[in-house]
């Protein structure tokens, strides 16, 4: 199979280029894209990419596979190959450090902005802050985010205004804390988001939902934030 990989080493290359590799795949087995990269790296150790848990939990190996963002470790080759060819590129919209490795700084900044921790000034009870099963259920589909950046880097609004629009991942997390019964900073959190960029640059194109490797729905979370803003203002 033909694998085409985005190559760029800032120390030696003036510009990025695509390098083609031919790889022998074992018969009757559908490898994951990460397995293919590992096979290639054994032959050409200079190919750089992040990877860690190799089972879709750590979120390290987010990349663009034949035009679609996803985690290489849980994307079968059969799904990613287009016209007999596997094209691997770094996540779009973030600066490339080398080959498939991007600088996640901007992405983490958005995460930091939404203050991703429980805020509660009430004195802590002796053991823990309790939640009813119904209250806990509201966090399902929100807390599972692994911060792989597949969604945000698939979002045109993120590409155009990464410094102002919080992005699907950041907003999913923003809602995760807005929806948490133990958090008491709801009003400040909403005020922080009530400008024309942070939330309202989402136009519901759903690229985020389309690529999320954990099957989460940032579009819905953003809709819920908007509803909360609306309820507060009217």
């Amino acid at each position: 199979m033909l694998v085409s990989i985005y190559r760029y080493n800032p120390e030696v290359d003036d510009a990025p280029y695509m390098q083609d590799y031919e790889v022998e795949l074992p018969e009757g087995k559908d490898l994951m894209v990460l397995d293919v990269l590992n096979l290639l790296k054994a032959k050409d150790p200079s190919i750089s990419y992040r990877r860690s848990c190799r089972e879709g939990v750590c979120g390290s190996d987010g990349m663009n596979m034949s035009g679609k963002n996803g985690l290489a470790c849980i994307t079968p080759v059969s799904e990613a190959v287009k016209k007999g060819k596997l094209v691997l590129r770094p996540l779009p919209g973030l600066p490339v450090v080398r080959d498939l490795v991007v600088d996640m700084g901007q992405f983490y900044k958005q995460y930091e902005k939404i203050r991703p921790f429980l805020i509660n000034d009430a004195p802590a009870p002796a053991i823990e802050r309790l939640q009813s099963p119904e209250e806990r259920e509201k966090l399902d589909g929100l807390y599972e985010c692994i911060l792989c950046a597949c969604c945000s880097t698939a979002c045109p609004s993120f590409w155009w205004n990464p410094d102002k629009f919080v992005g699907p991942s950041g907003l999913l997390q923003a809602y995760r804390f807005l929806a948490d019964s133990r958090d008491t900073a709801t009003q400040e959190r909403l005020s922080d988001l009530d400008d024309p960029f942070s939330v309202f640059r989402c136009h519901g194109i759903m690229n985020c939902v389309n690529v999320c490797p954990k099957g989460l729905n940032p579009t819905k979370a953003i809709g819920n934030i908007r509803t909360m803003l609306l309820q507060r203002a009217t």
Binding site: P10, E11, K41, A42, P45, S46, S48, V97, R98, D99
Partner: protein, 211 residues
């Protein structure tokens, strides 16, 4: 000896709520019990402040030797090939079911691999996100872990928890209700008694895993 400011977490911490048995969902208990303990301890330490040793030139030199050897290598073994052999040896001789004779064979092969790891070649010397260098360093670490798994496994002449030997199928509390302490410098193993001293609850006596 307790070294201030040095922390271990996860399996390296060896807190052993379940003794030798680290199968199934046992880590959940670790998370709940020690997660809380760690949180409380960290807060307390930060509030009180703690001393930590600072590195001297010799320490830094020692750490740099590893890196410099790779950065200056001009030829030698490929990381991918040696790693594949290490994986094969560990899978073959130190898997779930273990056997004295086979483990002897495995230990001999690990020695050969040790020589090859000391002769690794790093082709890509780039300073830009060089994962080839990381993998070379990781392979050195993997070998350390492999040795500290393999040597005590061969040393422990019984079956216990996830350590199942074909040549010693029974558990032997008389000789082996002990921690194995591996000493990487001499590559030898010593035993240490298990601490059953009660703190707030009586220790739960170990039982045979029969399910």
């Amino acid at each position: 000896m307790v070294i201030d400011g040095l922390y271990a977490c996860g399996e390296a911490a060896c807190v052993s709520v379940h003794g030798a048995n680290r199968l199934g969902g046992n880590s959940l208990l670790d998370l709940v019990v020690f997660g809380r303990a760690v949180g409380l301890h960290v807060k307390k330490s930060l509030d009180e402040g703690f001393d930590s040793l600072s590195a001297n030139d010799t320490d830094i030199e020692k750490a740099m030797v590893r890196l410099n050897r790779l950065n200056n290598s001009t030829g030698g073994e490929s990381v991918a090939a040696v790693r594949a052999d290490l994986q094969r040896v560990m899978q073959l001789y130190f898997g779930v079911f273990r056997d004295g004779e086979a483990m002897q064979k495995g230990l001999a092969q690990l020695k050969e691999i040790r020589a090859r790891v000391e002769n690794l070649h790093l082709e890509d010397k780039s300073q830009a996100f060089n994962t080839a260098r990381i993998e070379a360093l990781e392979l050195e670490n993997l070998l350390e872990v492999a040795e500290s798994t393999a040597i005590p496994a061969e040393f422990r002449k019984e079956s216990r928890g996830a350590h199942a030997r074909n040549d010693f199928t029974e558990r032997d509390d008389e000789n082996w209700l002990k921690h194995s302490l591996f000493h990487p410098a001499g590559k030898n193993v010593t035993k240490r008694d298990v601490n059953f001293a009660p703190k707030t609850m009586e220790a739960f006596p170990p039982k045979i895993r029969s399910y």
